[in-house]
Symmetry: C2
Subunit: 126 residues, 2 copies
């Protein structure tokens, strides 16, 4: 991933975030293929806005995907392949995971490059 | 950090999350000291529930802190030392950052160890 694409290009709030915190199991167990397929499927899903993801060398990781609405998250979850991956992932890929579904109410950042076609700097001041 | 303490021990929703995505600058620039002090200050703040944090070898990181309310986040932001760190951090520690404040509406995980004193497995079914 390039430096710029690490950051999701999200619109002005409100929108939704799925915060997925996890600890990997030892070994790959076909995880790489699954993760790539899941990312492709998410990107094709209506309402998908973007994703940010990091995993440390110790196996702990955080992935935050952004969605237009709670409905778009529900539709993604209902996706057959995703459901299959979730079922398998419980034992195979993750020792432990936590999923939190949250409504983003405010957002700001620097440099302000996020909101294409909108005024830069809106919603600033930490 | 131990494997178990990587995960924040959060209560049943609703509560708030501050999603901080960032790319570090090159060099330490006293970042380690600042990060440690900020973490200590957050932990003392009323309404602080916990934090999860990962930074990859490439300098991109995600830190999610959890809070009891929007008011507790506002109080933390008003903290003098934190404000100072934010002002300095813009140029010194981060090439780019995005902050999103979100209300957690649902949460679930495996194994279900999160909600002490509450029934395990509530809010399951991905």
């Amino acid at each position: 991933m390039s430096a710029t694409s690490d950051f999701a290009q999200t619109p002005e709030p409100p929108y939704y975030a799925v915060i997925f915190s996890s600890r990997r199991t030892e070994g790959d167990n076909d995880y790489g293929n699954m993760a790539e397929r899941m990312a492709s499927l998410a990107a094709m899903q209506p309402g998908f806005l973007g994703v940010e993801s990091v995993r440390g060398a110790d196996g702990f990781g955080i992935t935050v995907s952004y969605w237009a609405s709670a409905e778009s998250i529900a539709a993604w979850k209902a996706d057959v392949e995703h459901a299959a991956a979730q079922a398998m992932g419980k034992a195979r890929w993750y020792e432990h995971y936590e999923i939190r579904i949250a409504k983003v109410e405010r957002a700001y950042g620097r440099p302000s490059v996020r909101h294409c076609g909108q005024a830069a700097g809106s919603g600033t001041n930490a």
